[in-house]
């Protein structure tokens, strides 16, 4: 996608346009070719570069460099946190708490421990507004609870969980608490130490950095095993010659977030308010999926069901005719079955509404006038689809 299409891009939660500063930082890094683990002066340069990157990520989360570990992205970070903690209990499988609305890299990993090793799992269910009740978490705790893993903000609805309140409970009971913050980092400020959690995942491509690189914050390295064993990289916690080019990109992206996240968030919030107002004033019959207010949802995300259309058709219409990219709550899948969003299902949204749901997510390159053009296009596209289905 080139830059001229960015104004039509409303799928920032899937991935973000890479920022030109980030690209500029990565180009020279491609030529730094010494092995970071080497003993010569060229290796030294690279070690320093990696350490600066670690510093930038630490600053982003307001923590120390010794708590930041680079990974190949959010999925690896999630897998690492869950597996790294649970394999320590493999001889005595206990209880895991998570939610029904996690990302596949959490759900599938938790399921793996349940199916293969016999761990017991409690899946917390969100309320209609998408939020998990803190008291539900409290009630789910067992003496043998070995890990809690809950996402900070949901990728589909943008709904934000009360992680800070949850952490008060988990830390009082000293139960390891992992937070998948892949969707929050870059959109809201985080102070991970004040938050009081044990592990936090982030992924650069969700905040204008490159794909395939992320970090896991680890409060106490003795509490977790490596996912990738081997050499001395990452304080001997994650083997593998470092992906220097994308780590440098992550570094620059993290720096930008630290500087600008509040500005971006306030711009996004303006866009979102405008979007909501325009949609409500439009002829479209809309339901909002999950909270839309500032403190309970991301400022860049809106998930809506539009009466009378199928999300998937609307998505293609919006792309092919109007040049807007959005995402959907359901898609056809193989074998004639339909793939309904597990997140919307968990919120007890009915099947027809899920099939007519779309996710609109924008970001720092989105202008207020892009929002206006977007709504105009959306209204036309829906009208066209309705015209095709009139009579149904």
């Amino acid at each position: 996608m080139d830059q001229q299409h960015i104004s039509g891009y409303f799928d920032y939660n899937a991935t973000t346009p890479i920022c030109s500063d980030v690209i500029d930082s990565m180009v020279p890094a491609m030529k730094l070719f010494a092995n970071p683990s080497g003993n010569n002066r060229h290796s030294q340069t690279i070690k320093k570069t990696i350490n600066e990157a670690r510093q930038n990520v630490a600053q982003l989360l307001q923590t120390q460099v010794s708590n930041i570990f680079f990974t190949s992205g959010g999925s690896e970070a999630n897998n690492w946190a869950i597996k790294g903690v649970l394999f320590k209990h493999i001889d005595k499988p206990g209880h895991i708490i998570t939610t029904e609305i996690e990302h596949a890299s959490v759900l599938d990993t938790v399921k793996y421990f349940a199916d293969t090793f016999g761990f017991e799992v409690t899946y917390l269910k969100p309320k209609k507004d998408g939020a998990i009740d803190v008291s539900d978490l409290e009630n789910a705790l067992q003496d043998n609870t070995q890990l809690i893993t809950i996402m900070y903000a949901n990728n589909e609805t943008g709904v934000i969980q009360s992680i800070e309140k949850m952490a008060t409970i988990t830390s009082a009971r000293k139960i390891p608490f992992h937070v998948d913050a892949v969707q929050l980092v870059g959109k809201r400020k985080i102070n991970v130490e004040k938050l009081g959690i044990d592990y936090l995942s982030l992924s650069a491509h969700k905040f204008y950095g490159p794909k395939g690189v992320g970090s896991l914050y680890i409060k106490d390295i003795d509490s977790i095993e490596p996912l990738i064993h081997g050499g001395g990289q990452e304080f001997s916690m994650r083997a593998g010659t470092e992906n220097l080019v994308t780590i440098v990109g992550l570094s620059k992206a993290a720096q930008r977030v630290t500087e600008s996240v509040e500005q971006w968030d306030s711009d996004n919030w303006q866009c979102k308010q405008h979007l909501v107002a325009l949609l409500e004033a439009s002829p479209l019959k809309i339901k909002f999926n999950g909270s839309t207010d500032y403190s309970n949802s991301l400022s860049n995300t809106l998930n809506i069901a539009i009466d009378g259309i199928r999300g998937e058709s609307l998505m293609l219409q919006m792309e092919l005719i109007y040049g807007f990219i959005i995402s959907v709550g359901s898609a056809c899948s193989n074998n004639k079955t339909i793939n309904l969003s597990h997140v919307l299902q968990a919120m007890n949204i009915n099947e027809t509404d899920i099939q007519s749901s779309i996710r609109i997510s924008f970001g720092r390159f989105t202008q207020l006038e892009d929002i206006e053009k977007f709504v105009t296009a959306l209204v036309s596209a829906v009208e066209q689809l309705l015209a095709i289905s009139t009579g149904y």
Binding site: G308, Q355, A387
Partner: protein, 122 residues
């Protein structure tokens, strides 16, 4: 993804609509996927002079409905009856696994057409 046949038929469907005096009409639906398609035809001397559709469903099923109407206009029911499964499958071009249910839709449309047209003829 979506091939050009699907894209053309979806973004610019020429056969959307109703035929006030339709003499043949049938609906099909996919209970799992939820796609629904209604076909109205004007059949004169065993020839389909006009075909229109209404549809609610995924983009590929809408495209399928349009393609079906386009392909049968001007044809006789026996022309259509001669199409075998392979002929029908090839009409939609290369599909992703998640679009394969539209092959079944297209086959069902053909079957229904033959059934209904024969019924009308009796």
């Amino acid at each position: 993804m979506y091939n050009d046949i699907i894209i053309d038929n979806f973004t610019n469907p020429q056969k959307v609509g109703d035929i006030a005096l339709a003499n043949c009409e049938f609906e099909i639906g996919n209970p799992v996927c939820g796609d629904r398609i209604k076909i109205q035809l004007m059949v004169e001397n065993n020839t389909i002079s006009e075909a229109r559709f209404r549809a609610w469903g995924c983009a590929t099923s809408i495209a399928t409905a349009n393609l079906f109407c386009e392909s049968i206009e001007g044809k006789t029911t026996s022309d259509i009856n001669q199409k075998n499964d392979q002929d029908i499958e090839s009409m939609l071009g290369q599909l992703e696994p998640s679009q394969h249910h539209c092959v079944h839709i297209l086959k069902e449309l053909h079957q229904q057409l033959v059934v209904q047209a024969n019924a009308g003829a009796q």
